[in-house]
């Protein structure tokens, strides 16, 4: 444990730039380590090129059309897959969640289908769609659909029954009840589902490229590896990780934006 100063046990006195500065130092340290390990010869430089070479290759990639084509392909599959999954899961989730009968009778089926790993569908995707983008879409939609559906179902289950009954007594129609009572409660859950789904969708977009060869960053990585272009392979992996970070940041920003009225976000800002 860090030695606590008397009267200030939580050390709230750290300047605000402290954490980002330490974080930057951590990244530098990691890159330095990566640079040293192959240079010193702990790992064969052919298999793990030093950080500087990989970063140079990654920057070089930024100027090439092939790289951007791969990024576009990956992101296209990501966006379409996530979109279809989100819309269908939300509609189904609302309909099932608002009917006790449907909820009861679909529970076992949902709980059985949900844990099936979407990569189990890879052979099926190959048979049906070959190496086209549709294969990637099949995997992405299957994986994201459950993430969103489960969250929407939780959300509908969380709707205040008094609010619901009040709306009913005031003669709200089905659509009005969804719009004015259910959606505000479900929205935070839905956003969590989208955030999780966005990360999962990227994993599967890349996986489909790696394993099936559908166009995108994944297949570029597989080609670089098979062709022995190891430095470029690492550069592409680096780009994939950065893409993942960007997607996470964007998802969190959207969540904050959409839920700015909600207590979970307001509380975070006030603290």
């Amino acid at each position: 444990m860090a030695t606590p100063k008397r009267g200030k046990p939580r050390r709230t006195g750290d300047p605000p730039w402290m954490a980002p500065a330490l974080g930057a130092a951590g990244i530098m340290g990691f890159l330095l380590l990566w640079e040293m390990v192959p240079r010193v010869g702990m790992v064969d430089g052919r298999y793990l090129p030093p950080a500087s070479e990989v970063i140079l290759a990654a920057i070089e990639n930024l100027g090439g059309g092939d790289f951007w084509q791969a990024v576009t392909d990956t992101m296209q599959a990501w966006a379409i897959g996530l979109g279809i999954a989100a819309v269908s899961a939300t509609v189904l989730g609302l309909v099932i969640g608002m009917s006790p009968f449907l909820k009861r009778y679909t529970h076992s089926t949902i709980e059985f289908l949900r844990p099936i790993p979407s990569v189990a569908l890879i052979p099926l995707a190959v048979l049906l769609f070959g190496i086209g983008m549709e294969s990637a879409l099949l995997l992405i939609i299957y994986a994201c659909f459950w993430q969103v559906l489960i969250q929407v179902l939780y959300g509908v289950g969380d709707v205040d029954s008094v609010a619901m009954q009040t709306a009913q007594s005031y003669g709200f129609s089905y659509v009005q009840r969804i719009r004015d009572v259910v959606v505000p409660t479900v929205l935070p859950y839905f956003m969590t589902g989208i955030r999780l789904g966005a990360a999962v969708a990227l994993i599967l977009a890349i996986t489909a490229g790696l394993v099936i060869g559908s166009p995108g960053l994944g297949s570029s990585i597989a080609r670089a590896q098979q062709g022995g272009a190891i430095t470029n392979m690492y550069a592409l992996i680096l780009a994939t990780g950065i893409l993942g970070v960007l997607i996470n940041l964007a998802a969190r920003a959207v969540e904050k934006r959409v839920l700015s009225w909600h207590t979970s976000v307001r509380g975070e800002l006030a603290a």
Partner: protein, 262 residues
């Protein structure tokens, strides 16, 4: 009526939709000769002859499950230990956080070609792939859990002179358990994905390899039965996890119930 309410109605709720779906599937296969859609009875026969009475169970399924178990266990132990060490120290936490965020955002399957180069193809590489993919949610959730501990709780245990190992055992671990379990749940599905893909990529045995083999030789019913095996493993894993979680977090769920009732 009461028997209906207590026994028949829940059972009906459990099986009605699956029976309907399987029925629809069966009727569909009766008057269709689609190459891709096997008929249910034949699929069950193929399933039994391929996976249960055949050698595949010991030759492919068990080694895959062993790798899965080893990888997950290592990832959980390492993740929690490292998470505790890092979470308890503010400076180390700030130092490592961005690097860890990068690794968490990195889609785990891209680690397969890297580890193939560094370790070579084999059992060790597959376990390493599972560990290196699964450790991040657990590690980051442990750090987050340790950071989010109620300061009053920490100060109380300090006043009572609870420190060192017993503080970790009796205060920190239980308090951080809910986020840690959430991390483990995320890594379960990652582990399964990585187990399958690493076998599709670079082995000559294991479930993933066998299923791709079936697909390449157009053994469609066998391929479907393999997909079913993966599904069963996924469902079983999630049941085991739910059981363990309910035991580990029994106090937590109880607490939530009390809070919600109030």
């Amino acid at each position: 009526m009461s028997i209906f309410n207590r026994v028949i109605s829940p059972v009906l709720a459990l099986v009605a939709l699956p029976i309907l779906l399987i029925g629809a599937w069966w009727i569909y296969t009766l008057n269709s000769t689609s190459f891709f859609v096997p008929e249910p009875v034949g699929l069950v026969e193929t399933f039994i002859s391929t996976w249960i009475t055949g050698e595949r169970l010991t030759a492919d399924v068990l080694p895959s499950l062993r790798r899965l178990g080893m990888g997950l266990a290592l990832a959980i132990v390492l993740g929690i230990l490292l998470g505790l060490l890092i979470g308890l120290n503010r400076t180390v936490r700030a130092l490592t956080e961005p690097v860890f965020e990068f690794f968490r955002a990195l889609p785990p399957p891209v680690l397969i070609p890297v580890l193939m180069l560094l370790i070579g193809v084999g059992n060790t590489m597959q376990v390493a792939v599972i560990v290196s993919g699964c450790i991040w949610p657990i590690l980051l959730n442990t750090i987050e859990g340790v950071r989010g501990i109620d300061p009053v709780q920490s100060e109380t245990s300090r006043s009572y002179g609870i420190s060192g190992f017993s503080r970790v055992r009796y205060q920190i671990l239980p308090a951080a358990a809910p986020p840690i379990m959430a991390g483990v749940r995320q890594s379960l599905s990652i582990a399964l994905i990585l187990m399958v893909i690493s076998e599709m990529f670079a082995t000559s045995s294991g479930l993933g390899f066998t299923i791709v083999q079936f697909q390449r030789s157009f053994a469609i019913p066998e391929m479907w039965s393999g997909i079913a095996v993966l599904g069963i493993i996924g469902v079983t894993l999630s049941f085991i996890f739910q059981f363990v979680e309910r035991r580990v977090l029994r106090w937590y769920h109880g607490l939530k119930e009390v809070e919600n009732a109030a």
